[in-house]
Symmetry: C2
Subunit: 406 residues, 2 copies
């Protein structure tokens, strides 16, 4: 063979460990209905794929192609995603005595959301495997992202989305040609509807953790983060947790990089942040449980976090425990304060979910989870202006003065 | 001296050619009130600054530091701006028989707008020159961008913005600590108010073409575009024209790169696109005039293009004529059609201004300005979801079906 492209070798159930071939479409584990994960021949990859090889490649997530599932360049559906900046917060850092504080700013992705990583890889792989019609249940952002990539790939998409998701997200998905169906209730309800629609039709359900490949796109966050830090591990990575893909994806990247000998065994603490109004992972963490119980009536301004029964809750809990991390919930009021603080001191307008992660720093410092001198990365998972931050009572609005034109 | 940083040498009036020192704050030309341009020692730069030097630098607009005005790394105020992707439109390309068609997607910048380039460099240089309080008149996007960078730099900012600008933009600027004053009428009225406020206070007016440095940020678009095309010139670059900074900035970059021997003398056609409801540059181009006459009552869905008396209209006209380019106006209906077409065939949600540029391709092909086999770049100047594209009568909304949760 010529140049090594992907080292994808098989699928593996994250719950029972059953292995499946990766050369045909696969949803959940046929035995236990657990989520499937993509596995690679990391020994082979580790022999030929080194950080120094990656350095000169194009600045997109496809630079990590050996650990992505797509089988060759013809399979790549791309809108130029990945390599989002790590923005230094040198003023805010001082508040907690940190040595370095960064925001990994996923607002700079297509559709303004980290979901674009999953959609890019998920749609590419779906097309490569011959799928033509997809269905997905989302909180909001993923609908816009998947619609964009499906349009580009020529795949048909139906999006189930909560009726109270930001209206712009539904409008964008429709603009890109997707069929959008609004659903009463939470993102979990939307996902249930998508599952039913997938089972009753020729459409394949690509909701989070119902197919294995989107997580591969999300995990590139972890690779990028390390590469952008010149492979010096941070002490903590603070992740908002909705369906759990971001924290599970980063954890998967850390394990892969360790196996390939790219990074040392010591891993940063992975910290999961949820909203006080919808915190199933935090509750399970505090109870010492391995699984989440569904949360009743999730409600928070951080709408992407309103996942009451996160499909990867158990993976998020593993990631947190195995890295010596923490799980913490913040209130909507803390989210709003963090948005204001970060915007006014650092010029960065975070999305509510990213602001939740930033808001957690006070609690993490109090609990001694984050220590003075630490190097910390916060994930901002999307743009703050999908759902414009005002004029609402939530924000400190200076009433504008109407003055006549000259 | 050690490593060469900036080759900034002086300022020069774009109208009368008067030269001024670049080491203190400067607004308009003291003689003729024309806009000042930053000039560099390009001979010196050309000897030591080569495309191959740039290749390995960080992927931000600061990679072109020798032709930027900031005097050293300590002066840089950055949110990780620049190096936005060139996205291929391989399906749409075929509609006009083009060899290659790209969108330079400026939606990926901080605050989701090309204005972030100008704000990054403008704010950095303002702080370096000792300014503490700024005032600016904007169409909308620039308000959010300048507020973000001023917050980061610790500068005070007052933004004058049309009362009918997207409310999210005012909210973001306030969130970042700027004072926002809404003004009846056009962006020109906002700029007039800012000028008066600047004259009557200790604040320095940084509205477009009232200070020389933001254009330096915008011009990096031209450098990036060429570098991302491996220095092979495209045949045409299609630019939406509001205040004229994008097309004037790209033209300045082309001339600088030619002087440094980076690119051949043959330049791509620079094509200016305006909205039929506000087209002072197109009218002047068609009349063979060197200057624009103010447009009465500019109105268009592409709100950033509602500049009735563009301060760099004469520079836009020069750029267009000296490159054998063209100026063309498109209707709001064409803008909406182009948004829908680009989103549904390529997965890219353009802002209305970028959609105006895309919409112009039909007319340009009909007029023979863009030919089959050409390589063309369209500038998408910002995100399409600042001002969410629906639910309005403008978009093909599929009425969502309300279905009960399972």
């Amino acid at each position: 063979m010529g140049v090594l492209w992907s080292c994808l070798s098989r699928l593996e159930c994250a719950r029972c460990g059953r292995e499946l071939p990766a050369d045909r479409p696969a949803g959940l584990c046929p035995d236990c209905h657990g989520p499937l994960l993509a596995r690679y021949d990391l020994e082979a990859a580790g022999r030929v794929f080194r950080p120094s090889d990656v350095a000169g490649r194009p600045t997109s997530l496809w630079r990590y192609r050996e650990v992505l599932p797509v089988q060759g360049p013809a399979g790549v559906v791309t809108l130029g995603e990945g390599w989002t900046p790590l923005v230094r917060l040198d003023r805010l850092r001082e508040r907690w005595g940190l040595a370095e504080l960064f925001v990994k700013d996923e607002a700079r992705l297509p559709a303004g959301t980290v979901k674009a990583r999953g959609a890019a890889v998920g749609v590419s792989r779906a097309r490569e495997l011959g799928l033509r019609r997809l269905v997905i249940g989302v909180a909001g952002n993923a609908g816009a992202a998947w619609a964009a990539y499906c349009a580009r790939a020529g795949l048909a998409l139906t999006v189930f989305m909560p009726a109270d998701a930001p209206p712009g997200r539904a409008a964008e998905a429709r603009l890109a040609g997707a069929k959008v169906i609004l659903v009463d209730g939470s993102p979990d309800n939307a996902a249930s509807q998508a599952q039913r629609a997938g089972a009753e039709s020729e459409s394949f359900d690509v909701s989070a953790f119902r197919e294995p490949y989107q997580l591969e796109g999300v995990k590139t966050l972890g690779y990028e983060l390390y590469e952008q830090l010149d492979w010096r591990p941070p002490d903590a990575i603070v992740c908002p947790v909705g369906n759990g893909a971001v924290i599970a994806g980063i954890w998967k990247a850390l394990n892969e990089m360790e196996t390939m000998g790219w990074i040392p065994g010591r891993k940063p603490r992975l910290i999961g942040v949820q909203a006080a109004g919808c915190a199933p992972v935090v509750r399970a963490f505090e109870e010492g449980a391995d699984e989440c119980r569904p949360w009743a009536d999730g409600e928070t301004v951080a709408r992407e976090l309103r996942v009451t029964d996160p499909p990867a809750g158990f993976l998020a809990l593993q990631a947190i425990r195995e890295t010596g991390g923490w799980a913490v919930a913040v209130t909507d009021s803390e989210v709003r304060d963090a948005m204001r603080l970060t915007a006014s001191t650092e010029g960065l307008v975070l999305c509510p979910e990213g602001a939740a992660a930033a808001a957690a720093l006070d609690r993490l410092a109090q609990a001694g989870v984050v220590l003075p001198g630490n190097r910390v990365v916060i994930l901002n998972t999307g743009t703050g202006f999908v759902d414009p931050p005002g004029p609402t009572e939530a924000l400190p609005v200076v009433r504008p003065v109407q003055i006549p034109p000259l």
